[in-house]
Symmetry: C2
Subunit: 438 residues, 2 copies
């Protein structure tokens, strides 16, 4: 201790007496006046009611943490590293995982400084040397194809660096599955793991899921799975994570920590914070020595339409007249839109497809596979030129369409639809039965 | 037996010898040449390989079934009934449950004759006298608000008939949850059960789910639950059904028999084919003697937009310029669209709302509840005039908006949004925690 007494400040290691017990931890900023927030040694952030605290003393001024972090990296680029642990490149892009409570609004704002980020999550340094890359700080709803391309090019560089063992990308939750899909197409066949992760609750909340997600992400980044994966809580407990296939998963709950669910395939693995990995399926690409060449192109002239009963097919004209090149339509479970009565879509589909708008069908049920051959309606719709994308997720289909259309060499009706139906990054699961797979 | 021998024809009761065992059943049309399809006494339709059948004889020419049905009702209106069993009004509207294989295409086509429908499903006569109403035969993707109004008026009539114990509506699966939502708003506080049901597999397939769904629907229609319910398989086995709240459920799988899932609330009950009902929650309306007055109005000038990253907010202009009065936007889990960088939605939202397009926000995660107060983005979006619809399903929100706007007396910004936020038919679950409820 540098001083015998001072008023404890965020960053100090403190010891409190509460209801006859002592607790030691790093004091965090708390925006609830009645609550004192500590990061305990076990990594959890725990809030204590101030009224229950009989004593508080500073054990260590400033934070030992701070020094550890500063020796680990120098902020934006490479830093001093142990040289003994495997190197992970860590790309911070924004989102709740890199945010904290804003005392002005009671809401949450960006943690714009990457050092701050690592002050929150020191555990990842235990096993690895981490190099930070911070191309931008954005909420995922504000990201677009230019950001996906930027990330893809950063990842390509890391994957081709022989010193790097794997890549982690921290990202906003809401549209993370779009970015994961984009990377799965843009990066092609990988040589090392690429792990996307998130948190649903910001780091200064006791229930934050960031710690386990980051530890499990590091474990997967060191593994032999050379795939684009999304790693996050598998259950509502803080016990283990799933490594999900990036282009076959979806955010399914506004706030739950296990919000991401595998859709139409099994997770690749269960993974624990201590490093244990239990594989749930085969058929993934293994770590190898090949060079990765990013194919990071995109055409933004694409749209997504969720069909609803009574819908005017004129919506297709909006996209065509604006010069869009293709749309994904979330049709019914088997791939139907209105084929009789008023607002019949058949002639409008024929018309816009004739005018070179590509139209693809996916299922708005989310789970399962389209089947155009069960009902007459499906055959009528297929006859207009709509192409059915089987069990592909709508979000994945949209991203794939932008990526396919970004290739000049694949232009033309036949080439585009051939690519859309080709199983490029396991976006189709040919073995899918009628199960809800998780 | 009327004749000692004849070639068995569909409708005949036959006995077959297969692998040393005998089976008796009604011969059904089979469109697989190698398979003989029988409706067994237990109600299941089972296919037998013709090559395994050593003998087939006609036990009863034509079908006993046929006569039973013909004494049960006269097709389009009321028929002769036992007079002893409770009366259920049965509204047939189309869908897979009233379809059969089309031998020409190998697909499925409408069973347009309601007698045919009951020939397929005789079990429902065991407990009840059934009166058929058949306003139209449509696949659910071809139904619109006019059809919902027509059904609501038919149901109103049945509910106010003192002889009727409950109502069943058979319906296509794909957009059944839209119709269920519409009825929950249009019918208001009920006096008797209103049950919607479906099948995922047509009646002439061995795995058809129609029989159990119909039996369980009849049980719920005789129960004391005076709510709009959707009854169908609870699991992928043929064991029991759920009675789901009509406006808080969704089709979640293209082909599974238990495709409908309760969203953001528990199912009302488990129900078995033998009549057993196990309630899973309270808080539903009970059978009573009040008159029901249908409030069957709708304004079709409504739209549904599923937001995606990079989306041009110009889509809002499409709806406004076409004279639409309101749109539901499936935003991110917490209710965000683009609020920074290119394609920022904020000014466009302000503009269209200023020009009197109502804009409501729901979550594209499906599960969970919006929370505009966590992030600055949510507050910015709320400031434009977007109204957040908490845990309401996007499909339910769309139908509710059309119904609210159908009321001249509720016009105006304040009145419309007040109604949209009012919990009219339990479309909001105020007690929802972070659980995935089923």
């Amino acid at each position: 201790m540098k001083k015998p007494y001072k008023k404890p400040e965020p960053g100090d290691k403190v010891e409190i007496s509460i209801n006859g017990k002592n607790e030691i931890g790093i004091l965090l900023e708390s925006h609830d006046r009645g609550v004192l927030l500590l990061k305990l040694d076990n990594g959890y952030n725990v809030g204590f009611k101030k009224e229950d605290i009989s004593e508080i003393k500073v054990v260590e001024q400033g934070s030992a943490l701070q020094e550890n972090i500063e020796s680990g990296f120098d902020g934006k680029t490479e830093g001093k590293m142990s040289g003994k642990k495997p190197i992970i490149d860590f790309i911070i892009t924004g989102g709740t995982i890199s945010s904290k409570l804003d005392p002005k609004t009671g809401g949450v704002k960006d943690l714009t400084d990457s050092k701050e980020f690592f002050k929150m999550y020191p555990e990842i340094f235990e096993k690895t040397d981490v190099r930070i890359k911070n191309p931008f700080m954005k909420w995922s709803e504000n990201m677009d194809s230019k950001d996906w391309i930027r990330i893809a090019k950063l990842v390509e560089k890391s994957l081709n660096d022989p010193h790097v063992k794997g890549v982690i990308i921290s990202h906003g939750t809401d549209f993370l599955h779009y970015t994961a899909s984009a990377l799965s197409f843009m990066l092609g066949k990988l040589n090392k793991p690429v792990v996307l992760t998130y948190s649903q609750r910001s780091s200064d909340r006791g229930s934050s899921d960031a710690r386990l997600n980051l530890l499990c992400s590091a474990n997967m980044a060191l593994s032999d799975v050379a795939e684009v994966m999304l790693v996050g809580h598998a259950t509502s407990n803080d016990d283990y994570c799933y490594a999900l296939q990036g282009n076959k998963c979806r955010k399914m709950h506004t706030s739950r920590r296990d919000t991401f669910r595998a859709i139409n395939c099994k997770p690749i693995a269960k993974v624990w914070g201590d490093g244990k990995i239990e594989f749930l399926r085969n058929g993934f690409n293994k770590r190898n020595k090949e060079k990765v060449k990013a194919d990071a192109v995109f055409d933004d002239r694409i749209g997504l339409i969720k069909f609803y009963p009574g819908q005017d097919p004129g919506i297709l004209d909006y996209y065509r007249k604006k010069g869009y090149r293709g749309v994904i339509i979330e049709m019914s479970g088997l791939g139907h839109v209105i084929t009789g009565g008023s607002n019949n879509w058949i002639s409008k589909l024929k018309e816009v497809i004739g005018k070179r708008l590509f139209v693809y069908s996916v299922a708005q049920t989310i789970y399962g596979r389209l089947d155009a051959f069960v009902y007459e309606a499906g055959r009528k719709i297929q006859d207009t030129g709509v192409v059915y994308l089987d069990d592909m997720l709508s979000e994945t289909a949209l991203v794939k369409l932008g990526w396919v259309l970004g290739h000049k060499e694949w232009r033309g009706n036949v080439a585009t639809s051939k690519k859309m139906k080709e199983n490029i990054a396991n976006e189709f699961n040919k073995r899918l039965g009628s199960e809800f797979l998780e």
